[in-house]
């Protein structure tokens, strides 16, 4: 097991190196560069620039250099622990990501906990009372949850909040707390704003997860060992919780690994619509404005999380399900 983990960890730098090239190529793939999109943005405000000034800016940002040189410059900086400066924000990338990291984590983990707390009981309930009224109710509810795009839910809820309560529920803080230093009041203010995006983001995940849980559990409930245990007089509650639920959780556990990058990237559209100061909208903006160093760094970060997350999944699965064995020659 330990050797397996070490092997996987040793592979990490090589994977990331390959990923970084792919990320850089992807970001460079659309036509134009940061200045093309900058000029487009100027035109949106009615302004425009002389060619000489644009060329001067291009030289200033080093965008006139060949792509491989730009890549080496970027990679060279990352390897020395310096993430560089965003073209768009004109601020160090580490600072930009850093200040959004905490809130992104809070939102991601909040959503994760909410999803699991709601989805698993619903899944168990539906499976054990198959074709009952509640099963149908949750089934319909879940289909709505899966079918409605989350940004749509967000827009509808935002409009309802405004229409009936006269408040706009965007952002994660009230105006007076946006820039304030951390305090107990600020945390309370954050929690007052955080629940809505958590519910919106959670609904989608809950629906999916509950369906998966229900289906898995149904498979298990049909198995002969259940009859056997029942015959031996085990209480129904005890019976269901002890074996089938644990086994049915298996596929869910294996997705924890994917969930890690998803915590940071899964809410891009909702976070944009709801104006949440998380990393997702920043990536979206960086991609649109072709701010390649910022976008590249965020994507690289996501990739790293995916690799680490998969590793965590594998370890958890091995621990949870004795049928899984890691071949060590």
């Amino acid at each position: 097991m330990l050797i397996y983990i070490i092997k996987r960890l040793l592979l990490l730098p090589f994977l990331l190196l390959i990923f970084s090239v792919i990320a850089f190529l992807l970001i460079q793939a659309p036509p134009g560069d940061f200045l093309t999109s900058y000029i487009a943005e100027l035109a949106a405000s009615g302004s425009s620039m002389e060619r000489a000034q644009i060329d001067a800016l291009r030289a200033l940002y080093g965008l006139d250099q060949p792509m491989y040189l730009q890549y080496f410059k970027w990679m060279g900086r990352i390897l020395t622990g310096d993430l560089g400066v965003s073209l768009d924000w004109q601020r160090p990338i580490s600072e930009l990501i850093g200040e959004r990291m905490g809130l992104t984590l809070a939102l991601g983990l909040g959503t994760f906990v909410f999803t699991w707390l709601i989805a698993i009981p619903i899944g168990i309930f539906s499976a054990t009372r198959k074709y009952s009224f509640f099963d149908y109710f949750f089934t319909v509810f879940n289909y709505f949850g899966v079918a409605t795009p989350t940004f749509m839910t967000a827009l509808v809820l935002m409009w309802i909040a405004f229409k009936y309560y006269g408040v706009s529920v965007t952002g994660l803080f009230s105006a007076e707390y946006i820039d304030a230093p951390w305090s107990w009041d600020r945390v309370v203010d954050l929690l007052q704003h955080l629940w809505l995006p958590v519910v919106i983001l959670g609904l989608d995940g809950t629906a999916r997860l509950a369906r998966v849980m229900r289906a898995n559990l149904l498979d298990e409930l049909k198995k002969p060992y259940m009859e056997m245990a029942r015959a031996k007089g085990l209480s129904e509650w005890h019976l269901v919780m002890k074996y089938p639920v644990r086994l049915a959780m298996n596929p869910l556990i294996s997705t924890i690994g994917w969930y890690l990058p998803l915590i940071f990237s899964g809410s891009v559209i909702v976070a944009t619509v709801m104006n949440l100061p998380t990393i997702g909208p920043m990536l979206l903006r960086a991609l649109i404005s072709q701010d390649m160093f910022l976008a590249g760094t965020i994507i690289l970060f996501y990739m790293m999380l995916a690799v680490v997350g998969t590793l965590i999944s594998d370890i958890l699965l091995a621990w949870l399900d004795p049928r899984i064995r890691l071949d060590e020659e």
Binding site: A56, V85, D88, L96, T170, T272
Partner: protein, 636 residues
Amino acid sequence: MKRSTFLKSLVALGFSTIIGSTGVIAGESPDLEAMVKAGTLPPLNERLPEIPLMLPVVDEIGQYGGTLRRAFLGPGDHNNYTRAVYDALVRYAPDGSQIVPHIAAGWESNENFTEWIIRLRPGAKWSDGTPFNADDIMFWYDNILMNQELMPGGVGWMKNGDGSLASVQKLSDYLVKWTYKQPNTAFLLNMANLDGADKSISNLVFVPAHYLKQFHPDHTSKASLDAKVKAAGFDTWTQLFAVEALPHLSGNRPGMAAWVPDGTTVSDQVFTIKRNPYFVGVDPQGNQLPYIDEIRFTFFADKEALNLAAVAGEIDFQGRHINMSSYPVLKENENNANYRVVTWPTFGGSDAVVMLNQTWIGPEGEYFRNKNFRIALSHAIDRDAIKELAFFGLGEARQGVPAPFHPYYPGDEYAFRYTEFNPEESSAMLDKVLPNKNSDGHRLMSNGQVLDIEIGVVPQFGAWTDIAQLIVENWAEVGVKAHVEVRERAQHFSMRPANELMSEVWNEDTTGFPFSGQPKFDPRSDPALTFAPLVAKWYASGGKEGQAPPAEIKRLVDIIDEAKTSGRNRQIALAKELFQIWADNVWEIGTVGMTPMIQGVLVANDKLRNVPAVAGNDWPLRTPGDTRLEQYFYSR
């Protein structure tokens, strides 16, 4: 009136209003008063220049206090700030008709407009209290413009006809002289736009020399500069300088505007600019401006969320990013959310034009270059339907020429040329150019292929996608096939100069200002519109690449060049000719214009006063900057 007398009378006008206000230094914000009492700020008469700038009020003398809440879309939305402060030596008047003194007290020129003297205000100070004088302009000239690392290409407005740079001299502490090799009557028009707009130091003309010296290798040691560059995370000193030279990127750089950043920048979640205690402006009774304490820009990642915040009454004054399509819902909620909706229509032009690429290489190009074909397409468009469906009935059907109240208006016959909806006439004209049709009724080109016009659209300001779709349906009725292609903005923009767009829908919003900046009818402008990209290339390469312009397009360029060296009367005559050629040739087919589409639907807090009901609205005017936010106030 002779040109020189016209200009002199302008100067006199500027001075008389200023002199009228001398000596009547009356009041200041209670906050500043308290600071003076506490001894942390010099008294008002020591902070104001000898001759303060008198800014007339729209309705009444105001009261001090309050925060103006605005919203912005992040670091790319720097011009949200620029438009609010309009921090220039001279400014456009609120109606856009003339240039008026601002930070500078006035100007003079010689008889033939080759020499211009800018007169500064003795005693004026930067927001940190340091005197503002000719050295702050000379620092810009010697250390920014002349520095090959910072400005390798120079800037257009400083160039002589031969491509060399004009000279700038300090005559005294408060007089600076520009000398050009040829007459330059666009000087003041350009000066009125040198306000540090965009993210570019090329739009500056005066900077706080005392602050910027610490970031310039001519004035500081290499070691200390390198340390600063490294600490900020940049590679070169030029990158750091380009940030520190602009107030909205630096956050700490002293300014001359009515409000200066409090340390935050356009990269922050909330960007706040606070009252400048040394602002040179006063109201007609001598009270120091601005009335409002601070302007807060709150970041929104999404335009729709910003519009919802406006509907909810969380924005006190803004037209920028307010969608024209929000107009009905804004009106509906006017009373509950304590704001009013103001509309400021544009200066003319057309708010949705179809531009046909005159240098298109494909077989369609032959038809685009045929004037009768363009006229026929224009007659096929039902502009009234577009006006009702896309502009809520606002505006009028017209070509892209200035508004009737503008001196450059070429006359009704040009403004409405070829705009009547007449499918029969259109069909008859098209029958002569493209007589053959296929079984679907689509007209065929001479090579036997169906003529299919692609209309490129970026859903930017208005319902352009819908408008393009309506036009496609209109054209189909006269047998011309067309289709709409919606693209992401940056991609569309990179296709323009590459001559990859067959046609596009855009707007015509520089019609009031054809002789400064980058007017849209000048094929040399950048970003060039789809009207003639290869002609732009031809001019840029000195005739080596691209396509030579036909006589009519060449005439546009000659008109623009001549007008920049002509007096006012000649300028007006040239402008009229320009727009007559423009409308007559229908290179762009105007639909509906004079609507408030471009940042002209504004929400204003119910208590906000001195907001004009009508105003010149365009980028060169830095609207709403031209309406003098300094004299806005909250009534209690």
